[in-house]
Every structure is written in structure tokens, then in C-alpha cells.
């Protein structure tokens, strides 16, 4: 059924194999995650029997051996029929028929405030002068936990793969992320679904369990996630990585825990998560073993103790009240905080939550940075921005707004081949990224996908370097909000950035940004 919007599916019958030889090809019907195509079991004919269900992912077009399929938006419905767009009508029909609310995967779609309306201010004749990207160096490394643990991690580039669980992703996708991290010198993250054994050595760049054969340089890091569901968690699990991340929330469904439907809890997933095969793995929305900030401090203390004070402790937040939440993480003892904006991805979530709950990434950053500054730990407790970041330019903008690093979650899936069909929860991903079905998983080669991920990171790093140096900086740590301008009033209002042309923050921000005049965004100092 259509939950996204209406698209026109057209098939060129002159070149379609099935149209000429029914039964010889049904690729479109096989790969479509939304049953747009119907296969007649008797005649072998394939027809577009449910074109209303098309979400425009174009997987069918990509797989079609003769390039016979075209997908086009049906009409600008938001202009002509809002609020009763086709998607809205279909949604009501679905609920009326089934009594169920909609679940879907991936993340928010449609317009939300984003980085696009922020522009970068290049250096010209006024100081600082731009630097030569081809000849001069640009430091982009980042260390987490230098003063708090025995083994801080130093990322070669200020990027991470955010938490994506085994179960939501296939084993092959998890392995690819680990290889991509190793090839790029960045960190991958177990997510909340336990540890795929291979991740432990692949992330460090080794091809064998004993870690004797280093295959991928320079090698990366593995972040172990500790979450409310505690899937597959043990003392050994915590000690298998280079950092521990305490998950508080995530961008796609802040205030809710993870959902892994029983259909994706295969024998292998069940073994890693330590639960029965086929059981729904629902993470609680909060920690049942934490009732106060004091408890959270104790939790951080015992996590440090169990890991023998070796590794940094990270926190992951959803987009709620960034100032207060970041302040709480600082008090709890975080070495770094991943802050996921509402456009962040998920394997499965109620549609209304993904679409209508949370704060956009660009609006999360200013109060989060202010909290770090008010506690005197900005650039010491590292801030990792997550949520819909797609390239090096957006990474630069997030870092200039005060983040120390960024994560590419949804973009990593796309780099592996994903076409964004919003059906991750079904387990039928034709690219083998979010499927647990062997025949789908076989389509994803971890080494090849790992190389694609490393290529993507390399390209983003080059973009980040270009923009950093044209702004006159030799280190990513030098960039600031002075390197950015908002291009419209909304963005200036949300971010406190100077407005293009006006060359100042909007008046209420100017007041808030001056010392002694409050701390921005209406939040009180702790």
C-alpha cells in the first residue's frame, strides 16, 4: 500500500521480456518490496497490479534486464490536494482495513530544516587567506578519551559509522561497515543487536580471528553499544571493542526503543542477541536499571570498571532537549556524545514517530554546543553529529557549528547499494543490506561493499578538506560558525548563524550569544 506518495509506473512492452515471453522474466515482481507488480502463476505474465503502492525507489528499474521500466512522480499533490493527498487517503484506508498503524524503515522523508540553506563563507583577501588543498596539509584527525582512559581512540578522519544493529542489518552489511572503517581509519559501531564475531577483527583491519594478518590499512575501531534492550551483552562483549556507547535514544524514534520484528530474528540473529528464534526483539524505551542521573553515573562507573578503565565511554542521544540532555551526559561522565537529529535512520519504526517526532539536526547543534561550552568541555567532550548527513560539505557545516565529528548512517547504506525503499523492516532488501534471507544476503559481498564505503569516506574527506582549506583553516578543529551563513530567516532563527546580507545573527540570537546575556535557545544555564 502507498504510504509515501503516488508514482507512475510505466513498462515499455516492446522491450519487456515478460511482455514478449511470459514466464521468462519476473525480476520486477521479485525485487519490488511493495508488491507493485503481480505475477500470474498460471500464465507467467507480470502486470502492474498495484501501482498505487509504488514509493519511487526504482529498484525494479535498476534490476530490469532490458531497462524497460520508468518511474515518475504522479502529480504535485501537495499543491493540488493537500491535506487529502493520495498517500493520506491510502493511509486511512490501510488503517481502516487492518486496525494497524504503519511501520516502516530508513528514516524521515519530505522537507525538514536541513543543511542546504546554510552556505560556507570562503576566505578572500581578508584574513585568514585560503589554503592550497593540493599542496598544503589539513589535519582532520580526532581523539576521543585522551584524559579519561588508558586507550583513547584516534580517528584518522572525523567520521564514524553510527550504530546500526545486526538484525536490522545483515551480517554481510555489518562486515562491510567494519571493512570500510578499517580502510578509512574510522570507527564502526555494533549497534544494539550484539556483536557479529567478524566485526571485532575486520574493524581493526585483520582478516583473521587471531588478528595476525592485517589486510586493511590503517585499521579502524569498533564501538560497542550498550542499550536498553541489552541484546547479546556480556562482560566479554563490552571488552571486545575500543569504546562503549551508552544508547539513550536515536533520531528516527526518540523516546522509543529499537524494534526488530520476529521475522528478522533468524537462528543466527537469535544466537547473537541471546533470544529465542522468531521472537520480537523490542528494546524498552528507557533503561529499567536507571532511575536517576546518579544511577547513570554509577552505570558509567561500572562500565569503566568492567572494561578495566581502558576505553572511552560515549553516549548516544536522540533529538529531544539537546541542551539539557547533553548537560546530563557530561555530568554522567561521557567522553563523547553522539547526537542524532530527527532525520536519522532506523530499521523499523512507527511511521508517525519517524515522520513527526524530534528536532532537526541543524537545530540540535546550537544548544548542544552551548551546553558543552557552559560546562567548559567543548572540544574536550567530543560531539558527534548524526542525522541525515550525506557528504563532506554537510559534515563541514556540522563541524563549523561545533561538532567534532559526524556520522554517516543512512548514507552508508546507500553507499552499499540501497535505493531507499523505506521497507527495511520487512527483511526483503534486494541488496542484502537489511535482509536476513540467505538469497538476498548472497548479493552483498562484504569486501566489495567495504571498498565502496571506503571510497565514499575518501570522497567525503576530500570534500571536507576542500571546504576547510578554502575557508582558510589548516585543521578541521579551527572551523567555527564564522565560516557559515544562513541563507534564509528560518535557518538563521533555528541555528543562530549570521544571516547572509544582514551579516549578524538575528536579534534574539545576538542577545543570547553575548556573554552574560543567557546562553541561547531559551535554555537556562545549569
Amino acid at each position: 500500500m502507498a504510504v509515501i506518495g503516488a508514482f507512475c509506473v510505466s513498462v515499455n512492452k516492446e522491450i519487456c521480456i515478460n511482455a514478449r515471453m511470459p514466464g521468462k522474466c519476473a525480476t520486477c515482481a521479485e525485487v519490488c518490496p511493495h508488491d507493485v507488480y503481480g505475477l500470474d502463476g498460471f500464465s507467467g505474465e507480470v502486470n502492474v497490479h498495484n501501482f498505487n503502492a509504488c514509493v519511487g525507489c526504482r529498484i525494479c528499474a535498476e534490476f530490469c534486464p532490458t531497462n524497460a521500466i520508468r518511474i515518475n512522480p504522479a502529480e504535485p499533490e501537495y499543491l493540488t490536494r493537500y491535506p487529502w493527498t493520495f498517500a493520506a487517503i491510502e493511509e486511512v484506508h490501510y488503517k481502516a482495513q487492518t486496525g494497524e498503524y504503519l511501520l516502516r524503515g530508513f528514516g524521515t522523508h519530505g522537507q525538514t530544516p536541513n543543511f542546504d540553506m546554510i552556505t560556507v563563507v570562503p576566505s578572500q583577501i581578508a584574513s585568514p587567506a585560503p589554503l592550497d588543498k593540493y599542496r598544503e596539509e589539513c589535519d582532520m584527525s580526532l581523539t576521543i578519551g585522551e584524559d579519561t582512559c588508558e586507550k583513547p581512540i584516534t580517528l584518522r578522519l572525523p567520521f564514524v559509522w553510527p550504530a546500526m544493529s545486526f538484525g536490522a542489518l545483515s551480517r554481510e552489511a555489518k562486515m562491510a561497515l567494519a571493512i570500510g572503517a578499517a580502510m578509512s581509519g574510522i570507527a564502526t559501531n555494533t549497534g544494539e543487536g550484539g556483536l557479529v564475531p567478524e566485526e571485532a577483527w575486520l574493524a581493526r583491519g585483520y582478516s583473521d580471528k587471531e588478528m595476525t594478518h592485517k589486510k586493511w590499512e590503517p585499521g579502524g575501531y569498533l564501538v560497542i553499544q550498550w542499550s536498553t534492550g541489552r541484546w547479546g551483552v556480556s562482560a566479554d562483549y563490552l571488552n571486545a571493542g575500543d569504546a562503549v556507547e551508552v544508547k539513550i535514544g536515536q533520531g528516527a524514534k526518540p523516546g522509543m526503543g529499537g524494534h526488530l520484528l520476529g521475522a528478522k530474528v533468524t537462528e543466527e540473529v537469535a544466537r547473537v542477541r541471546g533470544i529465542p528464534v522468531g521472537s520480537d526483539a523490542l528494546s524498552p524505551c528507557r533503561y529499567y536499571d536507571v532511575q536517576s542521573l546518579e544511577d547513570m553515573k554509577h552505570m558509567v562507573a561500572f562500565l569503566r570498571d568492567v572494561t578495566n578503565y581502558q576505553v572511552p565511554i560515549l553516549f548516544k542521544l536522540g533529538p529531544s532537549r539537546p541542551y539539557a540532555d547533553v548537560a546530563a551526559c557530561i555530568e554522567a561522565g561521557a567522553d563523547a556524545i553522539s547526537l542524532d537529529g530527527m532525520v536519522g535512520g532506523t530499521g523499523c519504526s512507527p511511521d508517525i514517530v519517524t515522520q513527526g517526532v524530534g528536532i532537526p539536526t541543524i537545530a540540535c547543534l546550537p544548544p548542544a554546543v552551548q551546553a558543552l561550552k557552559d560546562h567548559g568541555v567543548h572540544r574536550k567532550v567530543k560531539l558527534i553529529a548524526l542525522g541525515g548527513i550525506r557528504n563532506g560539505l554537510e559534515a563541514f557545516k556540522a563541524m563549523a557549528m561545533g561538532a567534532d565529528a559526524v556520522g554517516f548512517g543512512s548514507a552508508a547504506q546507500v553507499a552499499m547499494g540501497c535505493r531507499v525503499c523505506y521497507a527495511c523492516q520487512k527483511g526483503n532488501c534486494p541488496y542484502g543490506i537489511t535482509s536476513q534471507r540467505p538469497e538476498m544476503r548472497a548479493r552483498l559481498d562484504p569486501a566489495e561493499a567495504g571498498k565502496r564505503l571506503a571510497n565514499f569516506i575518501h570522497a567525503c574527506a576530500e570534500e571536507l578538506k576542500i571546504v576547510t582549506m578554502l575557508s582558510g583553516h589548516k585543521s578541521i578543529r579551527e572551523v567555527s560558525t564564522e565560516d557559515l551563513r544562513a541563507m534564509d530567516l528560518n535557518t538563521a532563527a533555528l541555528t543562530g548563524l549570521k544571516l547572509c546580507g544582514y551579516e549578524r545573527p538575528l536579534p534574539f540570537w545576538e542577545e543570547a550569544l553575548h556573554p552574560g546575556a543567557g546562553n541561547g535557545n531559551g535554555h537556562k544555564s545549569p
Partner: protein, 216 residues
Amino acid sequence: MKTVDAKDKDLRDVSREVKTSLDGQAVTIKNSIQLHGLAAGLKKGEVVVKGDAGDYLGVLNDGATIIGTANVGNYIADNMTAGTVVVTGNAGFGAAQYCYGGTVIVRGDAGDFTATMNKGATIIVCGDVGDDVGTYMLKGDLIVVGNAGENFANCLIRGNVFIGGQWKSLGHNTRVEPLTEEDKARLRACFDTYEIDADPATLKKIVAASEKPFYH
């Protein structure tokens, strides 16, 4: 038996002493009520905590035997994977949550949300328990010899819950089933092993009404 005095020491120092001392002998810790997360993630040995203990005692226990000789704070044996944790007195809020294996015995009463998300451990409370005990249990056994509060075994997914006394209310997705002979034999063996004075035949058994209670 080696004794560690925790007075005026922090968790890191006490933990180091305990881990160093555990090699081949039992360790007694005294004056530790101010420390939370004591005896975390141990794989072997025996730790006896004299007097009342703080929160998170035996968290992530992975094979050790941990004995609290008096009352313990909240979240005892949190996320345990193996081993045994015994509390002679009462346990606070959220005892034995997120456990994957091993055995937890509370000889007194235990607080709300005890045995939440149990994924395979045997959890025995000889006294009464509070509200929402056994919430989201996925696997393993929860045995309450006394009474339970509201929402007992709430949102039970899988596993077995036994109770000797009464409950104020049963949680969602629960069904009372008669004890089988196998259940009785298992409970008898358990009670004999841990010297619990109770008659298995008087217990009631609660199981999940559906194994897929939440989503279509």
C-alpha cells in the same frame, strides 16, 4: 579468606584489590555500601559482601559466586550471564534485570521491576516482590515464593513464571497454566539445591498468552 576493607576507597581501588585477590581464594569485602557496581563482570571465584551492599552488586557477573550477607541496593546481578548471586536479606528495585544466565536467589523480598527482560536466568525470590516484576521476560524461570504486586509478569513474551502466593494483578499477555509433573520436579530440585522451604505443588504457573503479543 582475603578481606578487603572498602572504607574510604573508590570503586577502582576496591575492584583492583578484589580482582588481584580472587586468584584461587574467596574474598570478603566490608564497609562497601557506598560503592555501586561492586564485583562487576567477574568470571570466577567467590565474593562475600559483609553488611549491606550498594547498587549494581554483581553487575555483568560472568561466572563468579557473589553473596550479600545482608540487604542489597537496586539492580543486583544486573545483566548477569553466568554464576550465582545470593542475597541473604532484601533486594531493592530492579533485581536481576537483563540476565542471560546463572542463578539469582533473594532470600528476603525484592522490589519493583525485578527480573525485567530476563533472557535465560533462574531467578528465585523467597519473599514477596513489588510491581511489574518479570516485565518483558523472554526466557528462563522466575520463581516467587511469596506474593507479587501489580502487573505481575507484564508483557510476558516467553519463559516460565511461578508464584506461591497471590498477585494484585496480572500483566498483559499472561495465562495461568497448571503445573506439570516436570515443573514440580524441577522446582523441587531447585528448592532442595538452595535450601528453600516451600512446597512446589502449591505454586501457580504463568506463561505468555501469545509469543507475539506486540506486532502483527
